[in-house]
């Protein structure tokens, strides 16, 4: 049961270049696109194969807001903001979310006519109640830490919430694409015990561990969804899920498998919609004596042929990366100063040092394959690597306690610019390497404190260059994830340039004749 997001999925930090002061926007349909020449039609049922069990739809659960399940959770709890291209965010149920120049004072304006599925209005009061519930320790929500950054919330009128943050955060808007922005009713639940939502669909049937069925929400604010019903079947086994799609038992499935994407591309009855969903790297424990030397780390980076790694492990899907902002389109640095592949240069440094290291990886086929390929590459440079697969449930604990020398790490937290602070600032909660560089800290803080795009890009470049020089991690590749679907789907949101893979079920349509 692969999971693309081993770490970042528990966080709901998302993309984002927050909009500049005062800018607002209505939700555009630019992300919708027809995927076939057949016209989309109203009605019908779509069956979607999920890659994991869903025990609850409550947004407070860390599982419900993982990327593979967003196609379910956003259908019921449509978020205030949605992912746009190249790490940006756009208003969805919100009319706008803007900040002042300091990025500490934010103003959320709701659309008119928002209602929960029972018809009760969704106003600023309900937004605040939802956020407070997520921040309550009794709720046990993974979004508690996000709520903790909010110093104060006010509701000057029914459509407005103002936020005062404890520290500047130019990417605050991105956090409303997941748990924080998926507003649940705190006073009413459906017959299955889940809080009511304001999305295009509501839960009409729930069989734990098996399936969820949604029907249209008659009180939905926006354009009526195409589909009458959406059924989600929980099929954790990737092969079984793919066979179910090919046999027609399901119409759409999440996939992170390069081989499945390639097989589907050759099948005329299927089509693929995918995007780089996560970045993989090798964390280096800088407290280890062998890795404390920057010249060794640079040489390790030079020993890795990232293009070859992408070809072997990702079958050419995905792309090599060399900095934390590699997926973010226009703001990605042009030159991250990261060591390029040069086996001879790597050998000249490493062979004489007789280095022996353990490379931990999650016990999944794709991660073990990547670790094995890295072992081979580093072995050619004279480094003796032992690959140690570790059970997923234990992996994060091991990283947090520093019980590793090298560790394969896959995350989607870098799908927006704010992600770098978690990994690379000296106090970052995911700074498992122990890296500390005041230049990086200052640059990332500067990027977070301004909504000026050119200043942010310059700060990202400064941080990337410092990281490229110090090499606290060995960058490898970005990997694709997305959806494989039947050809009978005529309309599907265009996620090809997104860094957060989410598709609103309300925008999916079957074609005429299906």
């Amino acid at each position: 049961m692969a999971s693309v997001i081993t770490i970042g999925c528990a966080l709901s930090f998302l993309a984002g270049c927050g909009n500049a002061n005062g800018s607002s926007g209505t939700s555009s349909d630019s992300t919708n696109s027809s995927t076939s020449s057949v016209a989309p039609r109203q009605g019908g049922n779509l069956t979607i194969g999920l890659d994991r069990e869903v025990q609850t739809l409550d947004i407070a659960s860390s599982i419900t807001t993982q990327q593979p399940l967003l196609i379910l959770s956003t259908a019921v709890y449509e978020p205030l903001m949605k992912a746009g291209k190249d790490g940006s965010v756009e208003p969805d149920m919100a009319k706008s979310l803007t900040s002042d120049a300091t990025a500490t004072q934010w103003k959320l304006t709701l659309r008119d006519g928002l209602k929960f599925s029972d018809g009760t209005p969704l106003t600023s009061k309900e937004v605040v109640a939802h956020i407070k519930r997520l921040g309550d320790p009794a709720t046990k929500s993974s979004a508690m830490a996000q709520v903790a950054q909010i110093k104060q919330m006010d509701t000057p009128d029914a459509a407005t919430v103002t936020f005062a943050l404890a520290r500047p955060n130019a990417d605050f808007a991105a956090q409303f694409t997941r748990a924080l922005g998926m507003i649940e009713s705190t006073t009413a639940k459906d017959p299955f015990g889940f809080p009511l939502g304001a999305g295009p669909y509501q839960v009409s049937d729930f069989t734990p561990g098996s399936s969820v069925k949604l029907t249209k929400n008659a009180n939905y604010w926006g354009d009526k969804p195409y589909l009458d019903t959406v059924t989600y079947k929980m099929i954790p086994d990737a092969d079984s899920r793919f066979q179910s799609l090919k046999s027609g038992d399901i119409d759409l499935m999440w996939s992170e498998s390069a081989s499945q994407f390639q097989e589907a591309a050759k099948d005329s009855s299927l089509k693929v919609m995918k995007a780089p969903a996560s970045m993989s790297m090798v964390l280096l424990n800088l407290k280890d004596a062998q890795l404390a030397d920057a010249s060794v780390r640079k040489a390790l980076a030079q020993a890795i042929d990232r293009k070859a790694l992408n070809a072997v492990v990702n079958l050419g899907e995905g792309k090599p990366i060399d900095n934390p902002y590699a997926l973010l389109g226009g703001v990605a640095p042009k030159d991250a100063n990261y060591p390029q592949y040069d086996l001879n240069a790597a050998k000249s440094v490493l062979e004489s040092k007789h280095i022996k290291l353990t490379l931990n990886c999650e016990n999944r086929p794709d991660t073990v394959q990547r670790a094995t390929a890295l072992k081979d590459m580093l072995g050619k440079a004279g480094v003796d690597i032992t690959v140690t697969p570790v059970e997923s449930a234990n992996y994060t604990s091991q990283l947090m306690s520093g019980e590793f020398q090298m560790a394969d790490f896959v995350t989607s937290v870098l799908s927006d610019p704010s992600g770098a602070q978690y990994l690379f600032t000296s106090k970052g909660p995911y700074n498992f390497t122990g890296y500390a560089n005041t230049t990086v800290d200052s640059a990332i803080a500067a990027a977070s404190a301004t909504t000026d795009e050119s200043k942010r890009a310059a700060a990202f470049a400064t941080a990337s260059k410092a990281l490229g020089k110090d090499v606290p991690v060995l960058w490898t590749t970005a990997t694709n994830a997305g959806f494989i679907m039947s050809n009978k789907i005529a309309a599907f949101p265009d996620i090809s340039h997104n860094t957060l893979i989410e598709a609103q079920a309300g925008k999916i349509a079957l074609g005429e004749g299906h």
């Binding site: 025990q55 599982i63 993974s142 830490a145 079984s240 899920r241 066979q243 046999s247 604990s397 909660p429």
Partner: protein, 314 residues
């Protein structure tokens, strides 16, 4: 017999106590932090400590054992960390699914085993017997997940006559329910049938060599009639024991079948609980599985006695 049952009950309770103590200790040894999986990595140490306290994870192993055992006696098996629902409720919601898969699978296995074993014995050492023996070994050798994926490929993908995965509750649609159960039942049944057939064949051969079988033939019973009416019953003790024990073990969930066919049974629930470090749920499932094995074991002994009261049963 009564004394035997009484002794078995006492022994079973003792075994269950050992299981409870053992599983409590084993989950304490599991690496990984449930609070990290529930709250995510960016939760503060204080938040994780508070959650540990709320979930009772800060207690000693002995305190947790006492609390849990007391709860079991009161009928409270704890609350799932992930869903917030009572553990017994979670298990009960999955039990009918697993029960259906197991019973249908075992029905397939028993029917196939009876046919294969009796036919083999009737044509012992002949071409049919050797062929069936070879097929039995083949079925034993092929892992169940291979059988399952092969069935999906043939019947779902190629012939498109059966659904590749999914489950429809019986109460919702009996017809669709049975259709979705065909391949899972076959996957379980084919592998088990091979074991049962070999066991029954061996027992039948031993029975067929008894003098009373010659007497039956002498009195005019046809070979098939003698086999089914005279030989089968006394040969069934080992067979019934094996089937019963397998049912008990399978009640803990057949993970491979449930995973391949997308069936929400107890096996999948157990893996989800393990991966999420949902300790109350995990413990509850293990104790439930132990209870199933112990109960089936007792029922099997009673059945063996009823089949052959004159045999030594202990």
């Amino acid at each position: 017999m009564r004394k035997t049952i009484g002794t078995r009950i006492v022994r079973s309770i003792l075994v269950l106590l050992v299981v409870i103590v053992a599983v409590n200790h084993l989950v304490a040894l599991l690496p990984g932090d449930a609070t990290m999986l529930l709250l995510g990595q960016d939760a503060t140490a204080q938040q994780r400590a508070q959650l540990r306290q709320d979930l009772g994870l800060d207690k000693t192993e002995l305190q947790r054992l006492g609390g849990w055992f007391g709860g079991i006696l009161r009928g409270d098996w704890g609350t799932s960390f992930a869903s917030g629902r009572p553990v017994l409720h979670e298990i009960a919601s999955r039990l009918p699914v697993t029960l259906e898969v197991v019973l249908l699978g075992q029905a397939v296995a028993v029917i196939l085993a009876l046919l294969i074993a009796t036919f083999s014995v009737r044509h012992i050492n002949g071409a049919a017997d050797r062929t069936l023996s070879g097929l039995s070994f083949l079925m034993l050798s092929v892992p169940s997940f291979v059988i399952g994926l092969l069935l999906i490929y043939i019947f779902a993908v190629t012939l498109n006559v059966l659904p590749a995965s999914g489950y429809v509750p019986f109460a919702q649609n009996p017809g669709k329910n049975l259709v979705t159960m065909i391949m899972p039942a076959l996957t379980m049944g084919l592998g088990e049938a091979a074991v049962y057939a070999r066991t029954l064949r061996g027992s039948l051969i031993a029975t067929m060599s008894q003098p009373y079988m010659d007497a039956a033939h002498a009195r005019g019973a046809s070979p098939w009639k003698a086999l089914w009416t005279r030989a089968l019953r006394p040969s069934s003790v080992s067979f019934v024991t094996l089937v019963g024990m397998n049912i008990g073990v399978s009640m803990g969930g057949s993970l491979i079948i449930e995973n391949i066919f997308g069936i929400p049974g107890i096996g999948r629930l157990a893996v989800t609980a393990l991966q999420g470090r949902d300790i109350p749920l995990l413990q509850g499932i293990v104790v439930f599985a132990a209870c199933a094995v112990l109960i089936m074991s007792m029922l099997v002994d009673v059945a063996a006695y009823l089949i052959n009261p004159s045999g030594a049963h202990e």
